[in-house]
């Protein structure tokens, strides 16, 4: 019966908790001793901690207060749920949520499936893998604003390349960003092209971790390409797929840059107004920080649920 081995982290912890064997313990309590022992680490950490505290944690705490406060003629007062009421009564509120959810769903259909298919194709190729990996990842390296403006030119109904191509092959020209029914899809296509490189590389790494024997066994059982994908690839990458799905949902729910630059934010008849664009409008165009914070809080609650699921899945993967 050997004692169960400690995990590295536990071992490290137990080593630190024991007094050093080569002398008496330094004066002071265990906290002071631990502080002295880790002085260098604390010194290096203090910068990051202060930056996080000032620029990330403090604004988060302030947002909670702001969501229930109102400033009038310089006087700050507590207004309970008034800001939430203002937000709920805004005619653009439900439209913004609908648009955001539509963007999320479309972004999952395209932004989730396309990188996976691209990764599958690259993984199956015998030559030019490195070149294709670079090609797929290149758009991620473009500044988002530059990439979006590139699409703005492509979509332009007057001189845009897309309509030129459509015209050349005999297809009817489209009002890409100016048709309320097409505008969100156009935004999603631009967003997918800009962001799929990172996801494709993650999928590719996951695919390369699948043992070849599984595919050989499937082939011996007479499985074709699609059945191999369905019965081997997807089950083997299920966890990565789930994590990526959640990360995509969290990221796409916060979409702002693409509609802001492509359609001016609201889009035709408000068809691309998103929740984060509405928050931006409240704060920086209407000077209503209370309403902006209240809407931000609603978004936070929703995303916190997804984040909790993400953490749970991450733990499952660790185990």
């Amino acid at each position: 019966m050997s004692a169960p081995s400690l995990t590295p982290s536990k071992a490290a912890r137990s080593r630190h908790d024991r007094p050093p064997v080569d002398g008496p313990p330094p004066p002071g309590g265990s906290f002071t001793r631990s502080l002295k022992r880790n002085l260098t680490a604390h010194g290096f950490l203090i910068g990051a901690v202060l930056c996080f505290a000032i620029f990330s944690w403090y604004p988060m705490v302030r947002e909670f207060f702001l969501a229930f406060q109102k400033t009038d003629q310089g006087e700050v007062s507590w207004v309970g749920l008034d800001n939430l009421e203002t937000v709920f009564n805004d005619p653009a509120f439900w439209q913004a949520w609908r648009n955001t959810l539509l963007f999320t769903v479309l972004a999952l259909v395209f932004g989730f499936a396309v990188p996976f298919v691209v990764a599958l194709v690259i993984n199956e190729l015998r030559h030019g893998k490195g070149y294709l990996r670079l090609l797929v990842y290149l758009p991620v390296m473009l500044p988002p604003v530059a990439a979006v403006l590139l699409f703005k030119y492509l979509y332009d109904p007057g001189y845009g390349l897309l309509n030129e191509v459509f015209g050349a092959v005999g297809l009817p020209e489209q009002q890409w960003l100016q048709d309320p029914d097409l505008s969100m899809l156009s935004v999603v296509i631009a967003s997918t092209w800009m962001n799929m490189g990172g996801a494709a590389l993650i999928y590719l790494a996951a695919l390369q971790g699948i043992p070849g024997e599984l595919y050989e066994a499937a082939e011996l059982d007479g499985a074709g390409l699609l059945r191999k994908v369905w019965h081997v690839t997807i089950p083997q990458t299920r966890l990565i797929l789930s994590l990526m799905l959640l990360m995509q949902v969290i990221a796409t729910m916060q979409v702002f840059v693409e509609p802001f630059l492509l359609t001016g934010g609201a889009g035709p008849e408000g068809s691309t107004t998103t929740v984060v664009y509405l928050i931006y409008q409240y704060a920086f165009n209407f000077n209503n920080y209370g309403a902006a914070a209240a809407l931000g809080l609603l978004l936070l609650v929703l995303l916190a649920g997804f984040s909790a699921a993400y953490v749970k899945l991450s733990r499952a993967e660790d185990e």
């Binding site: 000032i54 310089g74 805004d90």
Partner: protein
């Protein structure tokens, strides 16, 4: 032992270095705002607002919108003005702050007010006053502004001064004003067989002219409109005013555009866009887009203020000769606005007096500062635009004469605009929120051939009523 001491010393050194760098970085991250309350460096001056600034009191004031280095001629004039001002007020130090690009961008301005990091004397649009007061950012300068501190006060258009008042208290001094008119591209007018010296005066004439200009082909649009970034609602409002309508009723609580006039505005735009095809295919445009189009001879006309021309010449390389202006079609009323300077709340009485003295010298004295047209001509800056022009009486006569005498552009191009002044109307309450709703009306009309105008207007009416109900 020595190595242990060396390790400790090295560790302490590393910690010191990291901490110092952190504190430096954090200090750099912070915004410096001018001191509140204090600021007089010598003597104590007089706290009596009516008393003039004590010449023995040394004062330093910060002011934004100093021209950036890219605007070399304007910056040169600013420095000359400071020098000239210091001959009368050697005790006042002017610390100018400049911003590359647009001096006032609403999102940045809103954030600045929230952080209370505005300079002692800061630039705003007329419509920003409620927001500034909400943030407790403006000093009441009623007691400081009189015929002694601002000698030309009686000659400033009361409508302009009215834009800077709240409950009869004065909170700012104007630097410029504008009323919207119809800006035309003279070259395209001539090519289309239209008279550039007689811009359209009614919306029917606009429609006819737009059709002719669009007939030139090559992607040229006859008339352009905004429909994004809240600027669509802004121009819908201007068009309503031009026909004698309103977007919000007199009580400020109800939408007032869902009527025959609103329908007329919407139907006219829809017909120009879809029946005449005279407004171009590219829509969802916002401020800056139409200026680029007209500067590159791709657009015949749009509603604008005269200072748009300065932007197009200085930033887009267009020629003054290429533009002309007429009054807003319809001519019942036009949308009026402008820019001004506000004094930061809480600064010392001496600083307030110094700020007002500077504003009076640079912005409110005929023949000086911004109204020194002879110098502007020498420096090859635009002279001859019809605005800013908030003067009345003798000041107006004097300034108009100097403007014509030193003109650097064909002032006759703006004759129709100058000879037919249209009464200016202020923007509606909760302007930006109302404009956001009306953007949907404009984008609906201009992007959807099958747009249901009645539905667009009634939906917008309900939404504006909701917006106004939460004041």
């Amino acid at each position: 032992m020595r190595s242990a001491r060396f390790r400790r010393t090295r560790r302490a050194g590393a910690i010191t270095l990291v901490s110092a760098l952190t504190l430096t970085a954090l200090a750099a991250c912070g915004t410096s705002s001018s001191d509140d309350g204090g600021g007089s460096e010598g003597g104590s001056g007089s706290s009596d607002p009516a008393a003039p600034l004590d010449p023995k009191t040394k004062v330093t004031i910060t002011i934004d919108c100093m021209p950036p280095a890219a605007k070399a001629a304007e910056l040169k004039e600013w420095k000359e003005d400071v020098k000239e001002f210091n001959k009368t007020y050697p005790n006042v130090t002017i610390e100018g702050r400049s911003t590359p690009g647009q001096c006032l961008e609403p999102p940045r301005f809103t954030a600045m007010l929230k952080a209370k990091s505005q300079p002692d004397v800061f630039y705003t649009y007329f419509t920003d006053l409620p927001q500034v007061l909400d943030n407790d950012g403006a000093e009441d300068i009623t007691a400081y502004v009189n015929d002694r501190t601002v000698p030309a006060l009686k000659d400033i258009d009361p409508n302009v001064l009215g834009s800077l008042k709240h409950e009869n208290r004065l909170y700012g001094l104007p630097t410029s004003n504008y009323t919207m008119g119809l800006l035309i591209n003279r070259k395209l007018f001539e090519e289309a067989g239209l008279d550039p010296d007689a811009p359209p005066r009614t919306w029917e004439e606009v429609r006819t002219a737009a059709k002719k200009i669009a007939g030139l082909g090559d992607g040229i649009a006859g008339f352009g409109e905004y429909s994004a970034g809240n600027t669509g609602g802004w121009h819908f409002t201007a068009q309503m005013y031009s026909l004698g309508g309103q977007v919000v009723d007199a009580s400020g609580k109800k939408a007032a555009f869902n009527d025959e006039l609103g329908k007329q505005v919407a139907e006219n735009l829809h017909a120009m866009r879809w029946e005449d095809q005279s407004m171009g295919k590219t829509q969802l445009l916002k401020w800056g887009d139409l200026q680029k189009q007209i500067a590159t001879d791709k657009l015949g006309m749009f509603l604008a203020a005269p200072d748009d021309i300065t932007y197009m010449v200085q930033q887009l390389g267009a020629d003054y000769e290429n533009f002309g202006m007429g009054p807003i079609p319809g001519e019942k009323n036009t949308l009026a606005g402008g820019n001004n300077y506000v004094i930061k709340k809480g600064i010392s009485a001496d600083k307030i007096k110094a700020g007002i003295a500077w504003l009076n010298f640079q912005n409110l004295t005929v023949g000086k500062g911004q109204f020194d047209w002879a110098r502007k001509k020498t420096d090859k800056l635009p002279v001859g635009l019809p605005q800013p022009n908030f003067w009345l009486n003798e000041s107006k006569k004097k300034d108009d004469a100097a403007r014509i005498e030193h003109a650097t552009m064909p002032v006759e191009n703006f004759k129709t605009f100058m000879d037919n002044p249209v009464p200016g109307m202020a923007e509606p309450p909760k302007a930006q929120e109302v404009y956001k709703v009306l953007d949907n009306v404009m984008s609906g009309i201009l992007t959807n051939e099958d747009a249901d105008i009645d539905k667009l207007l009634s939906t917008a009416e309900q939404q504006v009523d909701q917006v106004l109900a939460t004041q």
